[in-house]
């Protein structure tokens, strides 16, 4: 696939060169932007508009954090021109595998971005005085609940309440560990750099999750699987992403996304440039293009998550804006716990805890 498109491009260049010498000045070389991103972050109409305005061909590969890192690690940062990892997953990975190159902020149109979010992203993606990420889309994980159990489940640990036994689902991944730790009154983020303290927090969370296991219907592994479980009513409370909750809310007002008492967990997906990107120019063009308010709103409408673009909210669908406001009042927004960068080695510890929980009876 990659090889064939590369050779087509070569042909296109040759062809356009011939055409240009023949006097057809408007023939341009077919450029290509290979984007690895999340579902919904590159809607078809946005891609089409970008291709029309710039003449650059966009190849979209859908992915997630782990998959993105694995793919780029396998090639040493080649194969894609622009990636969209979460802001907390850049520094550790960069230090270990060296797969990104620093962002040249002079080429980013920062005026159309929310300054607070740019600052937060720069802080969490800084390595040796260079920044590796531009904020793009942000969101939170919290709880999706049916109205029938909304009084019972107001925090992560309430998923272990006997009243919802057998009707609960969450992932066996790191956000669950973090969420439970906060709900149990601890602060895992503050313990990120203190191995022993973090280990003791994890030990307590491990016990809690093992106790809670009998309450869980199944550990969900994919977004569609979770939505199906909630839609059919087989699961009435789950720890999940806000966008999924708002999507379900549009279908069935009985289902809502709520920010847990101990705070929703906030993430920012960024733009990062792979180290061996072949078309950086197009990557910056894409960043500046999709962060225009009207375009960013289209991404919000498609993915359900809000962007770092300034003033995009005006163009977002009214239902989505209402659902967002219903889930987050000002205090809930201020209570969002933003993921700090993950220090290397932490994930190995968390992995062992997750394995133990999976194996426990």
């Amino acid at each position: 696939m990659a090889r064939s498109s590369r050779s087509t491009r070569k042909h296109a260049v040759l062809l356009s060169a011939t055409l240009a010498t023949g006097g057809f000045a408007n023939a341009t070389a077919a450029e290509e932007l290979r984007l690895i991103t999340w579902g919904g972050y590159a809607p078809d109409d946005v891609v089409a508009q970008f291709e029309e305005e710039t003449g650059i061909d966009v190849q979209v590969t859908l992915s997630n954090n782990e998959d993105m890192i694995s793919k780029l690690r396998a090639t040493g940062g080649a194969g894609f021109d622009l990636a969209q990892p979460s802001q907390d997953r850049i520094v550790g990975v960069q230090r270990q595998f060296n797969i990104y190159k620093p962002i040249d902020f002079s080429r980013v149109d920062a005026d159309q971005l929310q300054p607070a979010m740019v600052k937060a992203t720069q802080d969490s993606t800084e390595l040796d005085g260079k920044y590796y990420g531009v904020p793009s889309v942000w969101g939170t994980s919290g709880l999706i609940v049916h109205n029938s159990v909304a009084d019972v489940v107001t925090d992560y640990t309430d998923l272990c309440d006997p009243a919802v036994a057998g009707e609960v689902s969450y992932r066996l991944k790191r956000p669950t560990l973090i969420g439970f730790a906060f709900a149990m009154g601890m602060d895992p983020f503050a313990a990120y750099d203190n191995r022993e303290e973090y280990e003791s927090i994890l030990a307590k969370v491990e016990d809690k999750l093992i106790d809670c296991k009998s309450n869980v219907k199944t550990y969900w592994t994919g977004g569609d699987q979770l939505l199906a479980l909630l839609r059919t009513g087989e699961v009435t409370a789950a720890m999940a992403w806000d966008a999924g909750g708002w999507k379900l809310n549009a279908e069935n007002p009985e289902i809502r996304f709520v920010a847990p008492d101990s705070g929703a967990l906030g993430w920012i997906d960024t733009f990062a440039i792979p180290r061996r990107s072949e078309n950086e120019e197009a990557a910056y063009k894409w960043i500046n293009f999709v962060m225009q308010p009207e375009i960013a709103a289209k991404i919000t409408n498609e993915s359900g998550n809000f962007t770092a673009s300034k003033g995009a909210d005006e163009y977002v669908k009214a239902e989505l804006r209402d659902a967002y406001r219903a889930s987050f009042d000002d205090s809930a927004i201020n209570n969002i716990k933003w993921y700090p960068p993950v220090p290397p080695g932490l994930e190995t510890m968390e992995g062992q805890v997750l394995d133990t929980v999976q194996a426990a009876n």
Partner: protein, 286 residues
């Protein structure tokens, strides 16, 4: 002159096969073997060692998952054989003309869809709000919805279904070629159904039984989608472990060691199976 031409054509014919074996099978495995002996000291230094292999034996989670996967795969293989044998017998010996072809196609057609689609099919049938559950309720046999998904039985159902074809095909081929007179002679000499089956049919079909079992066992052991999607919270499958190490933990070293162990241990199980059944690989695969 003539011999050099034929030698050249032999090499030319062999080239695609050799390229395939060396580039896509041998090299990746050797690379994986090499990675499995690397130990990450800190985030950017590596040394050689057996750390990953030690982890497998000391961390009970890994070897318990492996034993579980092995035992469930053996059970699945056995169950597949029990179910496939009567089907194959019917297709090969009893069905005639058109119905034979139709029955064979009926076994084959589900495999035109991918494993993912077949697994989702089973999920639609078995889930709490699914087809079986609502039928049972409509018949008045149960009061509320029944959850049949997310347990080991569901996983085995899915795995047996995925393996069925690979058991039926070799059995049909062998049973088809069996001389009717052998069976007749068995009855003439006073044997009952059981004796004829045990003394004549099974020994005749043994090579294909073993080859079918090897294929189904390997497929089951290496399957990923069915256990993950249908298994629920207690299910752990060894391939899932390998996937997790490579993809979500970025721990290629551990993943590679588990991969090598899966290859070695499954080969040992197959070898033991051949020894126990008194078959040789050449006879079974030839």
């Amino acid at each position: 002159m003539r011999s050099s031409v034929s030698r050249l054509s032999l090499w030319l014919l062999l080239t695609p096969f050799l390229l395939w074996i060396v580039l896509l099978v041998l090299l990746p495995h050797l690379q994986m073997l090499r990675v499995s002996f690397q130990v990450r000291e800190s985030w950017d230094t590596l040394t050689w060692g057996l750390q990953q292999y030690q982890n497998f034996f000391t961390e009970s989670y890994y070897w318990r998952t492996f034993v579980r996967t092995g035992v469930m795969s053996l059970f699945t293989t056995f169950l597949t054989l029990i179910i496939a044998f009567p089907i194959a017998w019917y297709i090969a010996r009893l069905a005639r003309g058109r119905s034979k072809g139709i029955l064979f196609m009926a076994c084959l057609i589900p495999f035109w869809a991918s494993e993912l689609v077949r697994t989702y099919g089973w999920m639609i049938l078995l889930r709490e709000s699914g087809l079986f559950s609502s039928w049972l309720q409509a018949l008045g046999w149960v009061d509320g919805p029944v959850e049949m998904l997310y347990n080991d039985v569901a996983v085995i159902i899915g795995l047996v279904y995925n393996g069925l074809l690979f058991m039926v095909v070799p059995l049909v081929t062998t049973l088809d070629g069996m001389d009717e007179n052998l069976v007749e002679a068995g009855y003439d000499l006073g044997g009952g159904h059981g004796t004829v089956l045990r003394e004549i049919v099974v020994p005749w079909a043994m090579p294909s039984i073993v080859s079918g079992c090897i294929v189904v066992f390997m497929l089951t052991l290496g399957s990923y989608l069915t256990p993950v999607l249908m298994g629920g919270k207690d299910s752990a499958w060894f391939t899932e472990q390998i996937f997790t190490q490579f993809i979500t933990r970025f721990n290629w070293e551990q993943g590679a060691a588990l991969g090598v162990l899966l290859l070695v241990l499954s080969s040992v199980i197959v070898w033991l199976g051949l020894k126990v059944s008194g078959q040789s690989l050449r006879k079974v695969m030839g």
